[in-house]
């Protein structure tokens, strides 16, 4: 069929035309993000944060004198698409360094490509531990992994609450699964008994059957690893069923963003969550970034925003220090990183079975009077924690 050969010819032409010729004074950086699909909300937050950072960096003269131009590519939250985007960035656009993506599965897929092509990749948000446990030399992760998400929270539990039992609910994604697995480890270490560990599929309409089960085992702590709408629905139904536990806590993500409070309303009050960052934290530039974001977009950014914002600064730092923009020089620059960003201190270490991983303190937030406040560790706290919490019947 003639048509097939015409198509092949058209592909050829389009393929050639996507080759990017570097303009002299600009540095084009492509960033894969989920701009549509279920994670679109977080993709949006990160995109906005990247742009704030880019404007600031350009105002200060750009990276090595070149103006930074960001091109966001929509991975739709699918690992195959993320991979294909990054392959194009590396093979066709010859980008010297890759960074971005939100979900663990996409970050994993990109990491494999980057390692294969020997191009450095900075993981910004993907949290499953295995990404930096493969011994990959070209993959660097700035954010703490799932195993470390809850360290701040565990310290709070061990110091203040001292619970004996815990029930864990988690969504079936890789984020939920690994978050739950890690909580199980932590619970065992702390001598807590895991009474229940239940997986649910995202988008469930009715949690009451499983919550009734939770109610019947009467745990001290209810720990949930969910994204925002499930988190809101869970708390609303917990309130409705009047399940009284000593503490309700989330494993970051959905529990740590303002939408949680907006959607769960009174049910979100006094709920705690592990988190990696908060707008009140005292790292340099954190408060300014949070306020700037709020002025532009009406809400405080979540920790994902802080990660994205700081990621661009890390890239700037690495590209400035690198001897050249060849892969191995950039890699060496990454390894030598010692930078304090709005997200926190960044150093890539090989430790505890991880390669090129940044280790940071994690925090605990609590919703007090409708606002997220940092409550633990106390050196970072913006408000005093509220514990013990009153029973549902006694509230209001």
């Amino acid at each position: 069929m003639k048509r097939l050969s015409i198509f092949v010819a058209i592909t050829f032409i389009i393929g050639l035309s996507s080759l990017n010729v570097y303009a002299q004074d600009t540095l084009k950086l492509g960033i894969p993000l989920p701009l549509t699909g279920t994670n679109a909300k977080f993709g949006e937050i990160e995109k906005k944060s990247y742009e704030i950072a880019k404007d600031e960096i350009n105002a200060m003269g750009g990276i090595k004198g070149k103006k930074v131009v960001l091109e966001f590519e929509d991975s739709q939250g699918k690992p195959e698409v993320a991979r294909s985007i990054v392959e194009r960035l590396i093979d066709v656009k010859k980008q010297p360094v890759v960074f971005g993506e939100y979900s663990s599965s996409c970050s994993k897929a990109i990491a494999a490509v980057a390692e294969e092509r020997k191009v450095p990749y900075l993981v910004v948000t993907g949290a499953t531990d295995d990404i930096t446990q493969q011994g990959y030399k070209y993959v660097f992760r700035m954010n703490p992994t799932n195993a470390y998400y809850a360290t701040g929270f565990m310290s709070f539990l061990n110091t203040v609450v001292k619970p004996k039992t815990i029930a864990i609910l988690y969504e079936s994604s890789d984020f939920g699964t690994s978050g739950a697995e890690d909580m199980v480890h932590q619970a065992k270490k702390a001598g807590m008994q895991v009474l229940l560990k239940e997986q649910y599929e995202k988008g469930a309409v009715d949690f009451r059957p499983i919550l009734s089960k939770v109610k019947s085992v009467r745990p001290d702590v209810i720990y949930m690893v969910s994204y925002v709408m499930d988190a809101a629905l869970l708390m609303r139904q917990i309130k409705e069923l009047r399940i009284d536990a000593k503490l309700y806590a989330g494993g970051a993500a959905g529990f740590a963003i303002p939408e949680f409070v907006q959607n769960a309303k009174e049910a979100s009050e006094l709920v705690m969550t592990a988190t990696l960052w908060s707008p009140q934290i005292a790292y340099p530039g954190a408060k300014e970034f949070a306020e700037k974001y709020k002025r532009l977009y009406k809400d405080y950014p979540s920790y994902h925003g802080a990660e994205a914002y700081s990621a661009l600064y890390i890239i700037k730092d690495v590209l400035t220090r690198a001897k050249s923009w060849k892969a191995n020089d950039i890699r060496a620059a990454f390894k030598a990183t010692n930078l304090t960003t709005a997200f926190g201190p960044i150093r890539f270490e090989d430790k505890a079975g991880y390669t090129n991983q940044n280790f940071m303190d994690t925090l605990v937030m609590q919703v007090i009077k409708g606002k997220h406040q940092t409550i633990w560790p106390q050196k970072y706290a913006s408000a005093q924690y509220v514990y013990p919490i009153p029973k549902w019947r006694e509230r209001r």
């Binding site: 239940e198 469930a204 059957p209 019947s216 629905l233 139904q237 069923l241």
Partner: protein
């Protein structure tokens, strides 16, 4: 008495859920019976209704329950247009595979859900009404009760309204001429034609009623759940699972099937594990297809004829 409490609470949850599911399935069953098409875009029509309700709530502060009066007519007209310009022409086309109608609805579903993403973004939206987490508690009325049971206010409200709508529909189908024409066409298309029923008009009206039902279902759902563009998919699934359990085209079957599915899902979630719930839904679907192809309706029919 925690086991009893757990069981009763699960049963209540299943019942309430089933009532709402039934409403969704009713629309689908009606359309299926008369037009012999499985409308895989059904859930997406519901999504459209929910967005209408959402915007009315956010912009004009109209309670979602009242939005039914706006969403239902809107969807009725929209459905009529789709039916006239897209569905009917395809029914007449000759092609190798007769499944074109179903595939057409799949195309529609894709277009609706994607357009919603483009216009409204993938953000999750909800209508946080003030009574969203209110509930009636057994211990408030019977302080010495050995168990605690709660009935969520919005769920119960939605359930009651769903029941009212179902009863209204039943009256319409059995007592009015149009209703009887619809049932006749559903039972035997050609016989109805011979009896002088204007089958084309019946098709249009039925589709429209199906749309009204699904719009109502959407408005009843939005206070207790939330909204996002791809929501249609899971409710379409619910819809056709119930129509198969209940019996294709049978309205009684849809109601009973809805309750069965609701209770089954709740029980599965509690006693087997929530992660399996979606698989459970499909497992019961395949089981019904294989072991009881006529659905619950065939059991009812046997009973009726048996008399």
């Amino acid at each position: 008495m925690p086991e009893l409490e757990l069981f009763l609470q699960t049963l209540i949850a299943g019942f309430l859920l089933g009532g709402l599911y039934g409403l969704i399935a009713l629309g689908m069953a009606l359309i299926m019976g008369v037009m012999r098409v499985i409308n895989l875009a059904h859930g997406d029509f519901m999504m459209i209704a929910m967005y209408i309700a959402y915007w009315l709530f956010t912009l004009f502060e109209i309670d979602p329950y009242l939005s039914v009066f706006v969403a239902a007519p809107a969807l009725f007209l929209f459905g009529l247009a789709i039916q006239k310009y897209l569905l009917t022409p395809v029914m007449k086309v000759e092609s190798i595979l007769p499944h074109n109608l179903v595939i057409l609805t799949v195309g529609l579903a894709m277009v609706f859900s994607n357009l919603a993403t483009v216009f409204f973004t993938g953000d999750y939206r909800s209508t946080p009404v003030s009574y969203a987490s209110n509930a009636w508690y057994l211990t408030d009325y019977w302080p010495d009760s050995p168990i605690e049971l709660s009935l969520s206010m919005p769920w119960t409200l939605s359930f009651v309204i769903a029941v009212i709508i179902t009863i209204a529909l039943w009256i319409f189908l059995t007592k009015t001429d149009t209703g009887k024409s619809i049932r006749a066409t559903s039972q035997d298309h050609d016989a109805a034609l011979l009896m002088g029923v204007n089958v084309n008009r019946v098709r249009m009206v039925t589709f429209g009623i199906g749309m009204i039902l699904v719009a109502a279902a959407g408005c009843l759902f939005i206070p207790i759940y939330y909204l996002y563009p791809a929501l249609g998919r899971q409710f379409t699934n619910v819809g056709f699972v119930i129509t198969v359990i209940g019996g294709m085209g049978s309205t009684d079957g849809a109601i009973i099937g809805g309750l069965i599915l609701g209770i089954f899902e709740s029980m599965t979630a509690t006693y087997i594990g929530m992660g399996w719930a979606p698989a459970g839904r499909f497992a019961i679907f395949v089981a019904a297809l294989v072991f009881l192809p006529g659905g619950v309706a065939s059991i009812l029919r046997k009973r009726r004829l048996g008399k």
